[in-house]
């Protein structure tokens, strides 16, 4: 039976929508991944700041209006599914619209708007179902009153309220405006999981048709009247500055309209992108390269390495690791190295701005509407109501589109030229001026007892901090938790554990990259665990089983993946398996990779993935996200890295920063472990286990642990 839930009145607002009909507004707890502490939720600044709305129009149209970004994670389908389930309508009856940063449905409503940290479905889970149930309750009250019957007896089906005797009907649209006047109930009934008809059933994504006929509008596809296109030449060395430039050559080219200095460098603005790019090539610029003109990857490694000579900040300590080190029957030491990684979203960075004396419109594929709006306000001096952010489709985000550097480019240019300007980055701009996944060096020390079981785990992490740029106050006592997540929370029952961290910032800008700290820390910890297993002559799965006895969800996915992959049966000749498990963003994922190694070339043939992400809203989205994470992670495991020479990024495009292609794809099978826990993330947790699963398989194949990425044998 349905369960009665008390409503937190501060979470909902209802009223008559502009133009009639019912409007239910709610505040979804929003993640702070790019602006705050991972996994926590920002309290709205005002007591109530709705950022999502259900709107039932007199015409019968039902809209879900959301201040969220869509970047491929299926939010456009998953969130309306939650509403539809409780509202009593089909998924096909709801249309989804993105709200700008400050939509005009209410006026007191600007909270933080940000997508990241895989929390889209997690935080929306309860609230959206409650909102759907609330709207339905209000509508049914009106129908029941008109008929003079008890509301309990009325049924709802596909947006129609049906009289208890099955005859008369009201469409939602006929009830909507009156429903806005019904007083708020103290609570609503939510369906029990076995009553769901939509949640947990694969649903086709609503945005698919437009993405395969060329109609979906990404940021780069914005076209405004009088719009011109800008492209910016940036200093190749991090921390350099503009000294001077000669614009004559560029200005002489057909189509070039203006050449001007901006914060990021020198902009060429032209009638179209190609003319702007040609203009850039004709620029003669003198840079002051600054203090980093000789910086190299080797030099950064030396800086990291020096930290091993001194103690880091302790982020976890259990037992007495130092005593255990001298007591262990066998000890092991290893240094693991991760390179910088670029996001390389398929759609290069871009933004379109239209700055006028009385307003500013920003059309942008962004994961950070509020920061975008603030950037617009800072540059133009306009107020909150005057700067409107329009979120377009995003051609990938992965954390890169939580930054607003490209917003600054466009707003500065539009302000200077007093016309709409689209700024388009080239792929080279994108690869060379990213906010990279931090590079780092890790020293691991392990100790085994006489039975070959681990009694000691020491991990010294040395890497730059993302938070020290994004939100310095989140670096507490020298610890950026995003640097240590996935390492400090090592799940294994080892009696002596010491995890230390040394924050070393470098001139290379770092940022949130898919799965953030766990993306590299799971690789390091899961690979070193296999080193310990090998040193103690233990089967990697058997050892994990033993050390995870108290961690049912880790164990659950591990067993599931192992069974599906046939861990206990021998591989085909020349094939080897590796296994890894990781928790991140509230979900648990284990993967088994099957590889072969031929003449130094690693080929991944098969990946078996098991995920426990709690209750599943749309299983097909979960599967798609696991596939996506695995491919993204395989690229970082097998393909490229960002390296530095003379203060510059050495890579520039897909020929030297290659991505995995179809010919390199493994078979992937994804298994969703049934779970009644509240929903975890799915956009990122599939990534951390893939690198260690593959590297552990390579270790099994070659007998040599893989201690730096990408794999180079």
């Amino acid at each position: 039976m349905a369960r009665h839930i008390e409503l937190d009145r501060r979470s909902f607002l209802k009223g008559v929508a502009v133009g009639g009909g019912l409007l239910v507004g709610l505040h979804l707890g929003l993640p702070t991944r790019a602006e705050g502490v991972a996994g926590t939720v920002v309290e709205p600044q005002s007591p109530f700041a709705p950022n999502a709305w259900i709107r039932i129009e007199p015409s019968g149209g039902i809209a879900f209006i959301v201040a969220r970004s869509e970047m491929g994670q299926g939010v456009m389908t998953a969130l309306p599914m939650l509403i539809a389930e409780e509202l009593g309508v089909g998924l096909d009856q709801i249309t989804v619209r993105f709200a700008s940063a400050a939509p005009a449905y209410f006026n007191n409503l600007v909270g933080q708007q940000l997508t990241g940290g895989s929390t889209s479905v997690r935080d929306a889970w309860t609230k959206l179902r409650e909102a759907g149930a609330l709207a339905r309750w209000l509508l049914v009250q009106v129908a029941a009153e008109r008929w003079g019957v008890a509301a309990d007896g009325c049924r709802v089906e596909r947006g129609v309220v049906i009289h208890p005797d099955g005859g008369e009907r009201f469409r939602f649209g006929q009830l909507a405006t009156a429903a806005a006047a019904v007083p708020m109930p103290p609570g609503v009934f939510l369906k029990e999981p076995d009553e769901w008809t939509l949640i947990g059933t694969p649903a086709p994504r609503l945005d698919t048709p437009d993405k395969i006929n060329g109609r979906a509008r990404y940021g780069i596809d914005m076209r405004l009247t009088d719009m011109v296109v800008g492209s910016i030449e940036r200093c190749p060395v991090f921390g350099g500055a503009l000294k001077g430039f000669d614009a004559e050559g560029a200005k002489a080219l057909p189509g070039v309209i203006a050449v001007l200095p901006v914060s990021a460098g020198v902009a060429v603005v032209a009638k179209g992108a190609y003319a702007a790019l040609a203009g850039r090539k004709a620029l003669r610029i003198e840079w002051d390269l600054g203090p980093n003109a000789s910086l190299s990857s080797a030099e950064l490694r030396r800086r990291f390495e020096q930290q091993f000579g001194q103690p880091g900040v302790s982020v976890r300590r259990e037992g007495d690791p130092d005593a255990a080190w001298s007591r262990a029957a066998r000890t092991l030491e290893a240094v693991y190295e991760v390179p910088f990684q670029a996001h390389a979203c398929m759609e290069p960075m871009n933004c379109t701005a239209d700055v006028r004396a009385d307003g500013c419109d920003i059309y942008v594929p962004t994961q950070a509407q509020t920061r975008t709006q603030r950037m617009g306000m800072d540059i133009t001096g306009l107020g909150e109501e005057q700067v409107r952010v329009h979120t377009t489709f995003l051609g990938g985000g992965f954390g890169r589109r939580g930054e607003v550097d490209f917003v600054r480019d466009a707003v500065e240019l539009s302000k200077a030229l007093r016309r709409p300007v689209q700024v388009v980055w080239t792929r080279e701009d994108d690869i060379r001026h990213d906010f990279y996944r931090p590079a780092g060096l890790n020293r691991l020390r392990g100790g085994l007892d006489v039975d070959g079981l681990p009694i000691l785990w020491k991990h010294h992490i040395v890497c730059p901090s993302i938070m020290s740029r994004v939100r310095p106050e989140a670096v507490v006592d020298g610890v950026d938790h995003t640097s240590v997540e996935g390492a400090a929370n090592l799940p294994y029952a080892i009696p002596n554990i010491g995890v230390d961290y040394s924050l070393v910032d470098t001139p290379v800008p770092v940022g949130f990259w898919r799965a953030v700290g766990s993306s590299q820390n799971a690789w390091i910890t899961e690979c070193f665990l296999d080193e310990l297993a090998a040193a103690g002559a233990q089967d990697p799965l058997a050892l994990r089983r033993r050390l995870l006895a108290e961690q049912p969800r880790h164990l659950g996915v591990l067993e599931f993946a192992a069974a599906q992959a046939g861990w206990d049966t021998p591989c085909a000749a020349g094939r080897f398996r590796g296994i890894a498990v990781a928790e991140s963003f509230g979900s648990f994922v284990a993967q088994v990779a099957e590889v072969s190694v031929t003449e130094g070339q690693v080929r991944v043939h098969r990946v078996t993935c098991a995920i426990d992400c709690g209750l599943v809203v749309n299983p097909d989205t979960v599967r798609a996200q696991m596939e996506s994470c695995i491919v993204y992670g395989l690229t970082a495991t097998l393909k490229g890295a960002i390296t530095l020479a003379q203060g510059r990024v050495e890579q520039g495009n897909f020929h030297d920063f290659p991505l995995l292609r179809m010919s390199e794809m493994p078979d992937i099978s994804v298994h969703i472990v049934p779970s009644a826990e509240s929903p975890g993330g799915v956009g990122e947790p599939g990534l951390p286990p893939i690198a260690p699963a593959v590297c552990n398989a390579v270790f099994a194949a070659t007998g040599e642990p893989v201690r730096s990425l990408p794999i180079r044998l």
Partner: protein, 154 residues
């Protein structure tokens, strides 16, 4: 003036001969379905058909399209395209969707050449199109489904 035939329509553009077809489509003709991903012919986001053959529009000078039939994602409406789109929806291929114009255009050219492609033929034709969201296995499945709609269903 350069005279082009795009999606069966005659279009005129006033651009230098060496302007890549990609920018002519996107900036001069408003056909933004063809995407920019790398500009060096290595990602396939910009695949269009020139007389039925898949080419990367970013490295094809507009002069090379004169006297040829250019087809873009917006104009792709034959039986193969319908079968592909249906399969794409059935398999739920796209994630962010940015690469998908290129995927469909490359797949459509493949199916003309090989109506019942093998896995190897699919790989050979599709390896040119990158997808950062990792939809490759679904692309492969959808192509098989479009090629053998009845077989796949059983």
């Amino acid at each position: 003036m350069i005279l082009l035939t795009i999606n069966n329509e005659r279009r005129e553009v006033d651009v230098p001969d060496d302007t890549p077809l990609l920018w002519v489509l996107r900036d001069h003709l408003g056909l933004t379905g063809t995407k920019f991903g790398c500009g060096i012919g290595s990602c396939g986001s910009c695949v269009v058909h020139l007389d039925g053959a898949a080419v990367n529009a970013c490295i094809t000078p507009v002069s090379a399209a004169v006297d040829k039939a250019v087809a873009t994602i917006e104009g792709l409406n034959n039986d193969i395209a319908r079968a592909l789109r249906q399969a794409w929806i059935g398999v739920q291929v796209p994630q962010c969707g940015y690469c998908q114009s290129g995927q469909i255009m490359a797949a459509a050219a493949l199916l003309v050449q090989h109506p019942q492609p093998t896995d190897e033929q699919i790989t050979a034709a599709m390896d040119r199109v990158l997808c950062r969201c990792g939809t490759y296995n679904r692309v492969r499945r959808a192509i098989h489904r479009a090629a053998r709609p009845t077989l796949e269903a059983t």
